[in-house]
Structures are given as C-alpha cells and as structure tokens.
C-alpha cells in the first residue's frame, strides 16, 4: 500500500467515515429488498444504494485522490451524474411494466385504469 500511506490523517478519517457510511446504507437498501413484502414497496429499497451509497463512496474516492493528486477525478463525477440521472428512469419503466402485468392478470391490489370521459357530442346538440 504505497499511495494510501501518503494520505494525511485529516483526509484519511473522512474517507473512512464516508466509505463505511456509504456501504452501510447500501447494505440497508439491499436488506430492504429482502424484507419488504410487496413489489411496489420493494421498488423503493435499492434507490438507497443508488443515490446515497453512490454519492458517499464517490465522495470518499474524490477526497482521497484529490489529496493524493495522482489521478484525475473526472470518473467519479461522471458516475454520480449518470447514476443519479438514470435510476428514476429505470425504476419508473419497471414500475409501469409491473403495473401493466398486474392489470392484465386482473389483480385486485393495484388501482384500476381510469377511463377518460368522452364528451357526449349529441347531448350538446352541436
């Protein structure tokens, strides 16, 4: 471990704290993936690891390599931006397809599709 020994103590402590916090939050999110009962509840659990876990671990890496100055820290910024932008899109599509499948099966747990009311043209006497 050559490069980590060069890290001063005032930078090592935040890096350690951010790493441990981020991985603990990811573990909590994945445990929620097991413990929650329904699919629509489970859909919320992995967003913990994809938002807070990614931000905290990338922040730890950015602090470490900004202090060490031996790597360009552009990758972490790209990873955070990409994951933050793409996670809602993925989960929204997955929730839509799950809702579609549940409606096809005629499940009673999901809300029914609202039918838009057509304006009755003959009653308006146009």
């Amino acid at each position: 471990m050559s490069h980590l020994t060069d890290l001063p103590i005032w930078a090592a402590i935040p890096v350690c704290l951010l790493l441990l916090t981020g991985s603990t939050i990811s573990l909590i999110g994945s445990i929620g993936l097991i413990r929650l009962k329904t699919f629509y509840g489970r859909l919320h659990a992995p967003t913990l690891s994809s938002s807070a876990g990614t931000i905290l671990i990338c922040l730890a890496s950015m602090i470490a390599f900004a202090v060490l100055q031996n790597r360009w820290i552009f990758h972490e910024v790209l990873i955070v931006l990409f994951v933050i932008l793409t996670t809602p899109v993925t989960l929204m599509l997955l929730g839509q397809s799950a809702l579609y499948r549940d409606r096809i099966e005629g499940s009673v747990d999901v809300p029914r599709k609202t039918t838009r009311e057509e304006p009755n043209l003959s009653a308006l006497d146009i």
Binding site: V15, T54, S61, I79, A98
Partner: protein, 93 residues
C-alpha cells in the same frame, strides 16, 4: 496506524457491499415474479459498481473507475431493455 485504519475500513466496506450483493442475489433467485428478479439485478449491478469503486480506492488504478462507469451504462441499458420486454413482449418494435 493511519494506513492500517484506512485499509481496514476499505476491507469492511467491501465486506458490507458483498453482503448487499448477496441480498440482491437472493432476490434474483427467490423472486416470486419476473419484475422482482429484474429489480434484484438492478440492485446487484449498482452494488457491484460500488465494490469496484472501493477496489479502485485501494489500488489507485484508473481501470477500476472506467470499469465502474461501463457497468453503470450497460446496467442501465439492460434494465431498460428488460422493462420494455416485460411491457411489450419484445425489445425492439
């Protein structure tokens, strides 16, 4: 003292992320329906990306960070494709 501290905390966070990947793998194997398995796959690749970031901090190798970026991009595309497949029955219409 200092380097021992940071090495042990990196190791602990790797173990925690490995446990998180195990939970996601449990949901893939056990999931009652197809959308549960896709959700487990989504959580699995996010946790694998975070694990690669901790490996990158440990070795200061730039390849790990590029690999994490590629995993993020490909995982997003694969999850979108799976969700479209569940909705329509085919990926490219």
């Amino acid at each position: 003292m200092n380097e021992l501290f940071i090495i042990w905390s990196i190791l602990a966070s790797q173990i925690l992320l490995g446990l998180a990947m195990g939970c996601a793998l449990f949901r893939i194997v056990r999931g009652p329906r197809a959308q549960d398995r896709i959700l487990g796959l989504d959580a699995l690749y996010i946790n694998a990306m975070l694990l690669l970031l901790t490996f990158g901090i440990r070795t200061a190798n730039s390849i790990y960070f590029e690999t994490a970026l590629i995993i993020a991009v490909l995982g997003f595309v694969s999850s979108i494709a799976f969700a479209k497949f569940l909705m329509r029955g085919e990926v490219i219409e």
